[in-house]
């Protein structure tokens, strides 16, 4: 608190306004008094509407199934940012925070979910002003004629300012080689990362092999994206946990037979050559959503429908993979 020797106690905002007007306090002191007044009150113009606490966000992260290594890394990043900020406060040498990232992993392995949580965490830590996530892919960035691409890319960057620009299947930007407009998108992006380095985080996401190839062909990018996180496929057990959680959230339950059938289908799918493209948790979600619709269809023709009927998903409700 500033060294203010006020003879009276501040009771309301109007009082502070008067003190400025009659020349008792400076604007800076006024702001400090407002803050002090504010801390005593529940609702006030100074407090954001609904701010989540960082512990709550980390709890949400912990609540995600699997992702052990990812969780560890996110905590590391959070701690690192916190310490750099404290060092800055103490005027110790602090590294400038470069938080652009590469996410490697198959579809449905939690990349977007984790990116969204990171946005919230960084907002809390005041690294990002808004912390929102803007998800884009090649088509949102690459245009049809010279100059169009730069324009489209800059537009997406503007949408993402203050938050995270999440580029899915980013390797496809290097697909067409030197002459392709994807190259222009990358260059524009790199420029934007310089221009807005204080308020934009870019995450490039995609399959592991493809992303590694992408980084090899664009060696300049590696140093601009110092954080790399690998998302491994979920195990069958984890996928079943995810399925249970999904149905519970919707107030359904799986019968033991349904669970067995689900396990069987997931195991079979793993043998499929295209498993990496089938979508892990996304595959589970599709199976569950389909099952809910099939259960409804089964029940609608039934004469009497009990509460139990409404809750349980039976094995016959679970579709085979090729039906999805």
């Amino acid at each position: 608190m500033a060294n203010l020797n006020l003879k009276c106690k501040i009771e309301n905002p109007e009082h502070i306004m008067d003190l400025i007007a009659n020349g008792t306090i400076t604007p800076v002191e006024a702001f400090l008094l407002f803050k002090e007044l504010d801390e005593k009150k529940e609702t006030s113009p100074l407090k954001p509407d609904h701010e989540e606490k960082i512990e709550d966000i980390l709890k949400e992260l912990d609540g995600l199934i699997g992702l052990t290594k990812v969780k560890q890394l996110v905590r590391e990043i959070q701690a690192y940012v916190e310490i750099q900020k404290r060092r800055q406060k103490e005027q110790l040498f602090s590294e400038s925070l470069v938080l652009h990232m590469i996410f490697k992993g198959n579809p449905g392995t939690g990349k977007t979910t984790v990116a969204r949580l990171l946005g919230k965490i960084f907002k809390q830590m005041r690294v990002l002003q808004k912390g929102h996530l803007v998800e884009v892919e090649r088509a949102d960035l690459v245009g049809e004629y010279i100059g169009h691409t730069a324009q489209k890319t800059r537009e997406q960057v503007r949408r993402a300012l203050g938050g995270i620009l999440f580029i899915d299947e980013a390797y496809s930007l290097a697909r067409g080689g030197e002459k392709d407009f994807g190259k222009e998108a990358i260059d524009t992006l790199v420029k934007a990362m310089e221009d807005y380095k204080e308020n934009l985080i870019v995450i490039l996401a995609g399959y592991k092999d493809e992303m590694e190839w992408f980084l090899r062909t664009n060696p300049g990018l590696r140093s601009r994206f110092p954080i790399q996180i690998e998302f491994s496929d979920y195990t069958i057990e984890e996928l079943l946990e995810i399925a249970k959680l999904m149905v519970e959230k919707r107030q359904y339950k799986l019968t033991p037979e349904a669970l067995l059938k689900l396990e069987h289908i997931l195991k079979e799918s793993q043998k499929n050559l295209n498993y990496d493209k089938m979508g892990n948790a996304r595959l589970v979600r599709n199976l569950i959503e389909k099952a809910i619709r099939r259960q409804a269809l089964r029940l609608i023709n039934q004469k009497q429908i009990s509460r139990e009927d409404l809750i349980y998903i039976k094995s016959e409700d679970i579709a085979e993979i090729d039906e999805i």
């Binding site: 007007a21 020349g23 800076v28 002003q129 308020n199």
Partner: protein, 191 residues
Amino acid sequence: MGKTTFLINFAEYLGAKTIEFEFAFPDGTKFKKKYPCKSAISDLVDENSHKTLALQGATLEIPVGKGKKKIQVIDTTGLIDGIHEDPKVRRSISQTIYEVLNSQMIIHIIDGSAVTKEDLPSSPSEVDFQISQIARLKKGYVILVNKMDLPGAEEGLKIIEEKFHGNVIIPVCAINKKGFKEVKTFVAYNL
């Protein structure tokens, strides 16, 4: 800093031919007046500081998606670090602070060319830092580093980016409307 210049030219940039200001003075006087954008500049902008001593509200139309949205923008008196000797200025400062606390979005204008010259009245100071602390809790908060056409502004911008790390910062020139597109996008996305 160029607050008034920015508001008038931004209105013009958004397609307005005229701009209607509603003046609200600290003593309670209120009136409305319509200006063509050009004469608004000559009437309301001055190189001496504390030209603006009323809250000057104007309604702007901003394109959002396919449609348009009306926003109420208020030009204010500049805030200073110390206690101003003129009671009229002090009262205007007081009502400006009230608006800062109660607005949904803050467009905070800093004179980029004055950053390295610490003795000018428009040099950024502790009060700017306090504003940023409060404003970053709002729905939208953006710092415009103005007068990018003047020498020293690039260096000023760098210093502001360091000092106000973590906020959205857009370099602009209120006179030649440079950077206005970014401002428009920022405002539209934060409504």
